[in-house]
Amino acid sequence: MNQLWEAVLWCLDPAHWTGPSGIAARSLEHLGYTLLAVVIAAAIAVPIGWWVGHTGRGRGAAVALSGAARALPTLGVLTLTALLLGIGLAGPMTAFVILAVPSILAAAYAGFEAVDRRVIDAARAQGYTGAQVLWQIEVPLGLPVLVGGLRSAALQVVATATLAAYVGAGGLGRYLFLGLKTQDYAMMLGSSLLVVVLALVLDGVFALAGRAAVPRGVTVARRGVNA
């Protein structure tokens, strides 16, 4: 517990916060890596997930692919891509995107699958085209599940982004490795605490976004059904 306290003190020391390698800058970097990875992963996974969910085709492949991606060891991908691409962000970013894709992909098609078939049938009966079904029904109704997927992807990346420092990038991992290599437990634990705090903040933001993502009518209707 003593070491935990020292770690907290390390975090609170104002001298550690300023400058280009201060906690503030490193936290922003860390957050930036996380968001960038999630955005890139979403750009890849959401269209594929929606396509799978909308057409019902390729589901088996999507499941197998995200299973395999989940099994990919981040440290391995990171060292491999870094050796190929050099220091900097490209290597770690590749690894983080691979880490984030499975959750988002699964959430994208699971969100569509959760839509009541009767709603879609009703829409078709009213003459909705495929595109209208997609954009006006499946996408909005699947959104809360998708936000949930983005949320778990972001949490995974924020915890793993510490590894970026292993191959010469920044983020809070810089403190972690420096503390590790020099047996500075306060620095190492302190930076871990900061990562946890960052994750908490992200989690909170996504929780709010998740609530906002539920279409108004749906909330009422669900309550009506449940009541």
């Binding site: 070491q3 299973g67 395999a68 989940r70 099994a71 990919l72 060891p73 981040t74 440290l75 391995g76 991908v77 060292t79 491999l80 870094a82 050796l83 190929l84 778990s152 949490l155 995974q156 924020v158 915890a159 793993t160 510490t162 590894l163 292993y166 991992g173 972690l176 590790l180 437990y185 190492m188 634990l189 930076s191 871990s192 990562v195 946890v196 994750a199 908490l200 989690d203």
Partner: protein
């Protein structure tokens, strides 16, 4: 792929160490998650804290956890137990939700019928609730197995043997084949374990087996 052929014994060693670390963790996660998940399912007041706590566990980066654990549980820095315990914690974090969800999904009619038949609580739990929640728990366990096998490699940064040592060593020596071997074997191990769980699930799940086992 010359590197692979020249280093088969080393690769076998690392694979074995990898299994010896990840399998106990997966098993322990299952054993711990069932009672914890039951608590979260049974007592609403525990539901929030247990599930959120479990979710947050995932926000703790694995590397510091591997390092902090020896301080907390009094093992050596390089003791494989640290990694096993840390992986177990991550496994529990994932699985506890599956157990709670699975139990939440048991149809009240089934439970009611068991109560009406005079099943005592433990027997009802083991022979009715748990088997009916089984498929959901199994799918959680599969995710745990895959992510545990994958996460296990991070211990290599501290010199704890696993396939991850192929990454750190290959990284230092610039041998892409070594890193690639580590990645492929990790994925193969994870997916093989996943298939094994599916097969085991099929064997164990038809609810009659649980009945006989009780």
């Amino acid at each position: 792929m010359n590197w692979v052929l020249d280093n088969l014994p080393l690769i076998a060693d690392r694979t074995w160490a990898h299994l010896a670390t990840s399998l106990p963790a997966i098993l322990a996660a299952l054993v711990i998650s069932v009672p914890l998940g039951w608590l979260a399912h049974r007592y609403r007041i525990l539901n929030g804290p247990v599930l959120t706590g479990a979710g947050l566990m995932y926000a703790i980066p694995s590397l510091p956890l591997f390092i902090v654990l020896p301080v907390l549980i009094g093992t050596g820095v390089r003791d494989v137990v640290n990694v096993v315990v840390a992986l177990t914690l991550y496994g529990v974090a994932l699985l506890v939700r599956s157990v709670a969800d699975g139990l939440d999904g048991v149809p009240p009619e089934a439970r009611g019928a068991a109560v009406a038949l005079g099943y005592p609580p433990l027997r009802r739990f083991l022979t009715v609730d748990l088997p009916l929640a089984g498929p959901v728990i199994l799918s959680g366990l599969r995710v745990v197995a895959v992510s545990t096998v994958s996460l296990c490699t991070v211990g290599a940064v501290l010199g704890i043997p696993s396939l991850g040592l192929l990454f750190t060593d290959g990284f230092q020596r610039g041998i892409l084949a070594e890193i690639l071997t580590g990645i492929v074997l990790t994925v193969v191990l994870a997916l093989a374990l996943d298939r094994l769980l599916v097969v085991l699930g099929r064997l164990a799940m038809p609810w009659t087996r649980a009945e006989a086992g009780a």
